[in-house]
């Protein structure tokens, strides 16, 4: 999952006192919170509160440039339609994305199956 990229949640009022939190694991929600912190110990320590919101504002497949985008579209036209393609994580920042990295998208030239 992308939760290393959800530092927005860090701005919530997480108790500073970890002991207090451990004592209060009676409510299911707090129990879930404890579980999450056990899995992601660094949650709550990254700086920058609004990164999640800013990531949400920027949602969308990022390509290196328009040539990259057009090549990716062209390759997709020649491929078989996949079953429901899950959304992949954003490919940006680490390396220049290539068409192989990108999730398949079917161009919407075919009529909807709802229309029979």
């Amino acid at each position: 999952s992308e939760h290393s990229m959800h530092p927005w949640s860090l701005q919530l009022s997480i108790p500073n006192n970890l002991e207090e939190m451990e004592d209060k694991v009676t409510s299911p929600e707090k129990a879930e919170e404890a579980k999450l912190k056990a899995r992601y110990p660094h949650l709550g320590q990254k700086p920058g509160g609004s990164d999640f919101l800013r990531k949400r504002l920027q949602k969308g497949q990022k390509y290196f440039d328009s040539g990259d985008y057009n090549m990716a579209k062209a390759k997709m036209k020649n491929k078989q339609l996949p079953a429901a393609a899950p959304d992949k994580t954003e490919v940006t920042g680490d390396h220049i994305p290539t068409p192989q990295d990108l999730p398949q998208r079917k161009p919407s030239l075919v009529a909807s199956k709802l229309a029979g």
Partner: protein
């Protein structure tokens, strides 16, 4: 609502292709509809996922939009005296490609063609108009019928080829002849380039002349006739984006007061604004927020309080909000807390960690009122949807799936077992399929007819006649 008269199913129907029969589309490809066994080849794809469902003002038309940017409109058949038991069924009326994928060259981002919302305009003449929007562009579509064709042109022959003008020796008046009904959709207005962020809502004003569009940080007011300018009426973008703490999640005009609209936020608050008070409605007229018990606050509190949908009641006296676990009804006269809270799937509270990890906690469910505002409906997981009767305080969980939806059968209430002994017919929380989400539902404005979108399938349920 009488639980014994639960909606009749007009869904599924891979075996029903009779005239006027099940309009519900098959998630499988066409060959399955013809009877071949294609269980291995479930060839629907991402583009077929329904992203919005909306009845028009009369309820005779039902529009769906999908991730592929296409709109399909269903029309209710007129009640037939010779077949009195077949209440008006919905059949495909029109389909068209509303939006195409685009590329933002400045930001190197693609703009999805997914239809986020469809809103109908009230009908003023024979044609039908609707607004459909993706993340960036709103379009006004005109859907009109053509059932006559002109024949006997002077300058062209029946094939359409131009006649040699020197060979024409007589003049005739073309006559109109009936033809098979053709439904045409044409884009009449394109409202573009007004949103930096992603459009989440559009709402037609009761004045029938203007509408609003809302993105994460701004709300714009448009005139339906004017595409080259819009007025910004709400702007919550902070000067320094590091200070961003909340975004706009939904917005809607009041059904009767053309100067009033509301918008909801990711922090679980709703602001009501009056456009008479100032041009820029950054200062709300009313602020709705339920007080929170600080001792119960957790890591998840803000996320699950984020409002995914806000809808005024038909009466205009109430509004309903949907957050991750509940639906709340607010009296517009009371800002301090909702008047009703209905739990949709409270059993998920002990699963929040996993739901955060698989991103389901960010799913945006919609909600809707029935025509008389006596009942409300919203979706859940495992293709379940929930209906709450506000008068009797009863609620029910139903399932929209091929297996439980034989045509003309009644839907059986479902129950989720939260722990301990699981009774027969109950389903345990751990067996729920979180990929089967019902995010979009719609209720006919007058009758007990509902439309439920389950991923790529559309189910239409109606009340039993007797």
């Amino acid at each position: 609502m009488n639980t014994h008269a639960w909606p009749t199913v007009f869904g599924g129907g891979e075996s029903e292709r009779t005239r006027g029969g099940c309009p519900s589309p098959c998630g499988l490809d066409v060959t399955r509809m013809l009877g071949e066994d294609c269980t291995a080849s479930r060839q629907w794809c991402h583009a077929d996922i329904i992203s919005t469902v909306e009845f028009n003002y009369s309820g005779d038309l039902l529009a769906t939009g999908d991730k592929g940017g296409r709109v399909v409109i269903f029309q209710r058949e007129q009640e037939n005296k010779s077949r009195p038991h077949s209440r008006g069924e919905y059949n495909v009326y029109s389909t068209f490609q509303s939006h195409e994928p685009e590329f933002d060259y400045l930001k190197s981002l693609e703009i999805e063609e997914k239809i986020n919302k469809i809103r109908w305009l009230p009908q003023q003449n024979a044609a039908h108009f609707l607004l459909s929007t993706n993340d960036k562009t709103i379009k006004l579509w005109k859907i009109s019928e053509r059932d006559k064709r002109a024949e006997g042109y002077n300058l062209k022959d029946e094939d359409g080829r131009l006649r040699d003008p020197f060979r024409i020796t007589a003049l005739r008046v073309p006559i109109l002849k009936p033809m098979d009904l053709m439904v045409e959709a044409s884009p009449r207005r394109i409202f573009a380039n007004a949103h930096t962020y992603h459009i989440n809502s559009i709402s037609v004003n009761s004045d029938h002349e203007t509408y609003l569009s809302a993105d994460d940080l701004r709300i714009n007011l448009w005139h339906l006739e004017i595409t080259d300018r819009s007025f910004n009426i709400v702007d919550i973008k902070p000067a320094n984006m590091e200070e961003l703490t909340e975004v706009i999640t939904a917005a809607e005009f009041h059904p009767h007061q053309c100067n009033v609209f509301v918008y909801s936020s990711s922090k679980g608050t709703i602001r009501l604004c009056d456009m008479r008070s100032s041009a820029l409605c950054d200062r709300h007229s009313k602020f709705f927020e339920e007080p929170e018990d600080p001792s119960s606050r957790s890591f998840f509190s803000e996320i699950i309080s984020s409002i995914s949908d806000v809808k005024f009641s038909h009466s205009g006296r109430y509004m309903m909000t949907r957050d991750y676990l509940s639906v709340k009804v607010w009296d517009l006269n009371m800002e301090s807390r909702p008047v009703e809270t209905h739990q949709v799937h409270e059993y998920l509270r002990s699963k929040l960690c996993s739901l955060y990890e698989n991103d389901c906690i960010f799913d945006k469910f919609e909600c809707c009122w029935n025509g008389s505002d006596s009942a409300i409906m919203t979706g859940s997981y495992n293709n379940f949807f929930r209906m709450f009767d506000r008068d009797t305080r009863r609620d029910v969980t139903l399932e929209a799936s091929r297996e439980s939806s034989k045509p003309r059968a009644s839907l059986k209430p479902r129950k989720v077992c939260t722990g301990g002994k699981r009774k027969k017919d109950e389903i345990s929380v751990d067996s729920l399929d979180f990929n089967k989400k019902i995010l979009h539902t719609a209720w006919h404005p007058a009758d007990n007819v509902i439309a439920v979108a389950a991923t790529n399938n559309l189910y239409i349920f109606q009340d039993k006649i007797n």
